[in-house]
Amino acid sequence: MSDQTERKIKRLFDYQRFEQEPGLQKLIDDTKERYSGGRILSDDILEFAAGGVNRPQDGGERQKGDPNRPPEKGDWTKAMCPECGCPRWFERRGHGGRAFCEMCNFEIFI
């Protein structure tokens, strides 16, 4: 990211995660609401998750976010991330069916 404006914006958004200035947070929440599917898993997502595999596949170096190949370590299952809105690999961690999106760390229950 070479442009100074971009760096400034990125830094300010990073700080916003901490400070949560209300006016700016409202704009962020409005955008999230427009594109987020919400936390509750629909039947479509669950059906999608049921088709996931948890073993790495052969062939070359895996890129983070590759929806076709899970990361090598951990217990992974595939599901549609309500936050990203895309198919992602979710790592099962902890208790009670908790799983976390590889890309955005959004928590779902499988």
């Binding site: 442009d3 971009e6 400034k8 300010l12 700080y15 901490f18 400070e19 200035e21």
Partner: protein
Amino acid sequence: MEIEEIYRNYHDKVYSYIRSRVNSAEDAEDICSNVFLKIQTRSEEYEKDKGAVSTWIYAITKNAVIDYYRVHRISEELPEEIVSDDELDRDLLQKETLQELSEALGHLSEEERDVIILHYYDNLSLRDIEKKTGMSYGQVKLRHNSALKEMKKFFLKKSASGRFSSYQ
């Protein structure tokens, strides 16, 4: 400000920030505890004239995350925005500048604003934004560029009136 008050006011913000950067919830809780321990032991170091307490706490939190990355030798590079520059942060990272970012976003169309938020806050690539929003990749790129142009103009105007003066 008493440590209990700081804990009450900032715990959720500190945890939320750390959790967005650290995969493990248990590690995030550990880091969060360490941050408040540092705040408690360093409370005499905080100097009011050097900036808001929130900026001071943010710096401690960010440095704690950087230390975590180093200790765990996480192979991916530290994201650029997390690299520590306390002097830069002290001037840039204030509530007022967040309000100005909010103003700048208010000058954009809804689609442009969405692209900026999804790209710079949610860290989605332009390709992912294409999939998420249903806009074509070309439209996403166009809106990204026009939004940045508009925001740069806004910041320059503000700079001319005294804000962001060291960054233009």
